[in-house]
């Protein structure tokens, strides 16, 4: 975090850190609950919709027909980048403490992209079509951060 340098005009004026925080517990519902529970076991599950596509993360109702969904489909830990954006200066809240890419990763077996961080060193190393794989955390609690990040396949 950058701080403005003290100048003659601001000399001697106090400053203090001030944190505004309201964490709240959100109910996941049965579908996302199963998705998060799966992450804890290194398992990524999507859900099949009426037209045959598999959505990851899963949703409770079919986005086209509105019907309730219940056909879970396990997808792979490897996928293809469908969109990406480089983050040169990560902040404290970001998932990695070094420059990384945000990317939509379409996991093998899925038809949609999962937004996550890709640790790939520099922006030039990643492009649409790059193949990436999940890097799991050792300690998993059933949250999206159980996936620490994605890495380039073979890295």
């Amino acid at each position: 975090m950058s701080r403005k340098a003290e100048t003659d005009a601001t000399k001697g004026i106090l400053t203090a850190p001030y944190v505004l925080e309201y964490s709240y517990t959100r109910s996941t519902g049965p579908v996302l609950g199963r998705f998060f529970s799966g992450l804890r076991d290194k398992k990524i599950e999507g859900i099949r919709v009426a037209d045959g596509r598999v959505l990851v993360p899963p949703v409770e109702t079919d986005p086209v027909t509105g019907d309730e969904l219940d056909e879970f489909v396990q997808v792979g830990e490897i996928g293809t980048v469908t969109a990406c954006s480089w983050l040169a200066e990560p902040r404290a809240e970001h998932p990695l403490d070094k420059p990384f890419a945000w990317a939509l990763v379409q996991l093998d077996g899925a038809d949609t992209g999962l937004l996550h961080a890709v640790d790939c060193g520099s922006a030039e190393n990643l492009e649409v079509g790059s193949r990436v794989e999940v890097s799991w955390r050792d300690e998993r609690h059933g949250f999206i951060t159980d996936i620490e990040c994605f890495r380039l396949l073979g890295d």
Binding site: M1, V19, Y24, T28
Partner: protein, 163 residues
Amino acid sequence: MAEDPITGIVCPIRLDYTITPGRAQTRFLRGLESGKLLGQRCPATGKVYMPPRGSSPTHGLPTTEEVEVADRGTVTTFCVVNLQFASTVREIPYVCAQILLDGADIPFFFVVQEVDVNEIRMGMRVEAVWKDPSEWGPTLENILFFKPTGEADASRESYKEHV
């Protein structure tokens, strides 16, 4: 043993700021370092604002004259808190009060302790209980709470403007 299925997730929402109180309140906070409560006087009306904001709210003029006010005063109104909520650090019930410090022309919000909640009343005279001076910093946390002085109640006339 299988772990329980996930039914809820904690969504963190957090904003980190660096705030500054500005010049006028910096002077007020510096005063607190040596146990002084420094108000500032409006040059037009003579009213003393505590804590000062650096300008008069009624005339928009800079309040450059500093006035030390007393660390005792009169309860103008109060609230007995009976509900525990997340950020509560005090045992309930406790009393929050607007206190018109002697020498100030605006009441100030503080916690009153060492008083039975049934005894707190408008006009009650109270005084600050300070931390040990070795722990003083540029903060109102130097004052732990206010407590009754035992003096006779102030007359309603003396604080009726502030109710």
